[in-house]
């Protein structure tokens, strides 16, 4: 006999009992012990069918293949760069993954990317030891030029992006600022100086109020800009799993 002791969207802390019996399956941030399922983090329960999962409300960014992140060049290697990913682990960007042009052997790589540069890149590989490879060989991946970088809690990233990038679009419409959000919690804002400040303020606000529902509508009222419906096939950002709930 199995029974579930929590409800959807309940707040649980580590070690809290979620369900008893073998009929339920432990999902993200949960574990089974003696036919019982417990939470592993401070977070919000989400029940989907037989799978119990906890959405963490805080916590470190776990690098995943295919994630778009914003990283900072920290060192120049023999045939690539070491980049800081805002995690406990650094990543390596190979020359082949950074540029399409031919790079001679022994050429000075700082001409392409220098120490201190930020870049929008994608995680192409992660090993079990969390060694990370990144690539820039995809449309939209480039060196960060101009604007400003801000840091947010990586668990709030889906909220800042919004459902089908609705939130980003809203800020763009209101301030004219171009926004790129990295899954690792780095945000690149580029536009007019006033616009950037305004956008930064709005992103901070979303981060602080991430757990409120209907945030896009509230912000649209606050900014005085209508929420724009985006057709699914013209989505500028990938639809992020676990976005606005």
């Amino acid at each position: 006999m199995s029974n579930i002791v929590v409800e959807n969207r309940d707040i649980v802390i580590p070690g809290d009992l979620l369900a008893e019996g073998m009929d339920y399956i432990p999902g993200d941030f949960t574990f089974r012990e003696d036919e019982k399922i417990f939470s592993k983090v401070l977070g919000m329960v989400s029940v989907s069918g037989r799978v119990l999962k906890v959405t963490a409300l805080s916590g470190p960014y776990l690098p995943k293949i295919g994630d778009k992140i914003i990283a900072k060049v920290t060192d120049v290697l023999m045939s690539g760069w070491r980049v800081d990913t805002n995690t406990a682990y650094t990543a390596v960007l190979n020359v082949r993954d950074a540029t399409t042009r031919f790079v001679r052997k022994g050429e000075d790589l700082t001409g392409i990317l220098d120490i201190g540069d930020f870049l929008v890149c994608k995680i192409s590989n992660v090993t079990s030891q969390n060694l990370i490879d990144v690539t820039m060989k995809e449309p939209g991946l480039k060196k960060v030029e101009g604007g400003r970088i801000m840091r947010i809690n990586c668990n709030k990233v889906p909220r800042v992006i919004g459902k089908k990038a609705s939130m980003i679009q809203l800020i763009k419409d209101a301030t004219g600022v171009e926004i790129t959000v990295g899954q690792n919690g780095l945000v690149w804002l580029r536009g007019s100086a006033e616009g950037e400040l305004k956008a930064q303020e709005v992103v901070r606000m979303i981060e602080q109020r991430a757990h409120e529902s209907g945030l896009t509508d509230k912000l649209s009222k606050f900014l005085g800009v209508p929420k724009r419906e985006i057709a699914p096939d013209t989505v500028p950002e990938p639809v992020v799993e676990g976005g606005e709930q």
């Binding site: 070690g15 417990f38 919000m44 916590g59 406990a88 682990y89």
Partner: protein, 235 residues
């Protein structure tokens, strides 16, 4: 004369008034404050981050590293010399060992989670308050944990078994023992057990039973503080 009535009028198993708060250090990845009576602990958690010095890194899993500090003005008036003392190092080590069984850092090899605990005011039971605050701060930082850890000191004062001793009780003129205990919240498994003073076998058994009973009160404070951070979440 036996110690029948406690100096501050509490029951034998009565704890001091406790309070907990989470997110007190916005710059940290996770933080918490825990007070019991006049003892006050603030914990801040940073990480998982790169291990420095490098040789300490464990390629199999991440680890935790505690630092325990009493603030210079935290005692009874005599300035406490800042910096690591033997005592602070020992307490930091037992804190590591008390928290290590519950944290699960297998997903973060070669990384470290740093826990800093500062005590602005002390009145005995500081390592227990420090562990309780550190467990809350770890949960606030989103570190995967299999359980919470709660801690309280028990002991005997002149033959009477009591919980959560104050400094005045520890300094009581007679036989006194002070037994800091930390336990996991769910299974009540002991992760810290130290002892100072003289205690009889039977008294120790009663004291541990008492620690087991009162531990849930500390857990309630922890849970309330952690949930309160997100209390305004609409259903």
């Amino acid at each position: 004369m036996a110690y029948t009535e406690r100096l501050d009028g509490r029951k034998a198993n009565g704890l001091r008034e406790m309070s907990g708060k989470v997110g007190v250090i916005p710059n940290a990845d996770g933080s918490a404050e825990f007070r019991t009576g006049k003892t006050w602990a603030i914990a801040a958690v940073y990480g998982p981050r790169e291990v420095l010095p490098r040789f300490m890194a464990n390629p199999k899993k991440g680890f935790i590293r505690c630092q325990y500090t009493m603030m210079p003005f935290s005692g009874t008036g005599e300035r406490i010399r800042p910096g690591r003392s033997r005592r602070a190092q020992e307490i930091a080590m037992v804190m590591d060992k008390a928290l290590e069984p519950v944290v699960d850092l297998t997903a973060f090899p070669n990384s470290v989670v740093d826990i800093f605990v500062e005590l602005p005011q002390t009145d005995a039971g500081t390592r227990c308050a420090a562990i309780t605050a550190a467990a809350m701060a770890l949960a606030d930082a989103g570190i995967p944990m299999r359980d919470m850890v709660c801690s309280v000191s028990v002991g005997t004062v002149d033959g009477t078994v009591v919980a959560d001793l104050t400094y005045n009780e520890e300094a009581f003129d007679g036989h006194v023992s002070d037994i800091p205990v930390a336990m996991t919240a769910r299974n009540k498994e002991i992760t810290l057990l130290q002892m100072d003073g003289h205690v009889k076998k039977e008294e120790l058994k009663i004291a541990l039973e008492m620690a087991r009973d009162v531990m849930s009160k500390i857990f309630d404070v922890q849970k309330k503080a952690l949930v309160a951070k997100f209390a305004e979440v609409p259903q």
